[in-house]
Symmetry: C2
Subunit: 231 residues, 2 copies
DNA sequence: CCAAAAGTGTTCAGCTTACACCCATGA
DNA sequence: TCATGGGTGTAAGCTGAACACTTTTGG
């Protein structure tokens, strides 16, 4: 048998990717949703998604979908898992691969395509979404929490330079807790992966807070030596 | 447009499931592989897999594939993630959803279908597998380690009744470490989810070791009260 | 000068880790 | 009786959590 015909008796399926896009505005963790202007479920809130093409990997498809909405490449993007209930999409059988992305909304706010009627929702105030998208969001949040505990992905949600109070608010909104600022600073600085700058950010206070930068090289060193950090 | 025709301009893909089947023989953590008796890559070692049917969910497909090989239902099975590089399968574009399963090989050793030339490999001695299957196994092992740290899934790899030395060996083989037995017993018993039986297992020692049973109700109570345990 | 946010150390409790000897029994 | 694996307690160090006051400066 021709190699290309080996599987021809098996069914084929539509495959899509759906993106859970997280952002942080300095106060709350946010989710970017779109208002569907196309059937099925037209007019309802939804995650941004798209169908998998013939010649792109699923990761490439996720990046493409993300770029169609936000105009940006090179963001943190990680696959969650596949969703494949038979009737999850009323229009047809579709296997969807959920990805979650972390972006800094401030940096890209003008890039988000108006074509999709996108809107940021505070986590906890996310509306009912189509299909199984709410389930995906819940799972993505738990994954984000876990990632933030063992890897420095939180920084993806902040600008290049950030203050410790900003970082603390980010962690507090991700984990829906409050932390003692002395303990938080002690812990985060003890990791030795932040570089203190000589500059202060003075927009949110009169005194001003020192800016820091995440030092990827120091983090990579730690990882090479097998040290996993916890926050 | 007819709802069933909404997606007709999008490509469709073969979708498969692949199962990483872990077992524990009392000494080592094992992986169940099959020798492919069919193309492509005939004769090579592979994970057990199968194509997704028209009217089954991906979870159902994974259970079906697992049952075809092992003859068993109702085992621990969890999805890892999807794999979708364009050329991961030389025969055709196939999107695969990887699942990992935990079984107690002793209980099912006669049920494993001889049709697939299956063999248990000790982790660390797994041969080169077809496609991206080695990558899936690595990922599954890391997921298993994480699961075992926060949920009592290790018990899935043991018989209903087990001794503490057996349990310790299991954890040691999963995490490739050794533990101090006093500390291990203290920690595991302090969780309060094990029921000590009056019976001893005397096959591996003259003195005999007490048998224990995992008490799911106690564990569920803990979970309800929001206590996540760590081992 | 005062309101508002940034920055700073110490103490205590609980947990983790290290560590050594006796017990029961089949051969 | 002895070899083999099962079972037990304690002390030290470390980590995480609780806690209050001073500093800076724009308005």
């Amino acid at each position: 048998m021709e190699i290309s015909n080996l599987y021809k008796h098996h069914p084929r399926h539509y495959v899509s990717v759906d993106c859970i896009i997280f952002g942080f505005n300095g106060e709350d963790l946010k989710l970017l949703c779109i208002k569907r202007s196309f059937p099925p479920e037209m007019g309802k809130w939804s995650l941004m998604g798209g169908f998998l093409g013939e010649n792109e990997s699923i990761d490439e498809a996720a990046y493409r979908v993300l770029e169609e909405l936000t105009g940006i490449k090179h963001v943190f993007l990680e696959q969650l898992q596949g969703y494949g209930s038979v009737n999850r999409d009323p229009a047809a059988r579709v296997i969807s691969l959920a990805y979650y992305a972390l972006i800094n909304p401030g940096e890209y706010k003008d890039a988000i395509s108006p074509h999709f009627s996108a809107k940021w929702f505070t986590l906890g105030q996310v509306p009912e979404l189509v299909f199984d998208h709410n389930e995906m969001v819940d799972k993505a949040l738990r994954r984000l929490q876990r990632r933030c505990k063992t890897q420095p992905v939180g920084f993806e949600l902040l600008a290049d330079r950030f203050t410790l109070p900003q970082l603390q608010k980010l962690y507090e909104s991700i984990f829906r807790m409050t932390y003692d600022k002395r303990n938080f600073r002690k812990k985060i600085l003890s990791l030795g992966i932040l570089q203190k700058l000589d500059e202060k950010e003075k927009e949110t206070s009169k005194k001003g807070a020192y800016l820091y930068r995440f030092e990827k090289t120091k983090y990579d060193d730690l990882m090479k030596r097998g040290i996993h950090f916890e926050i």
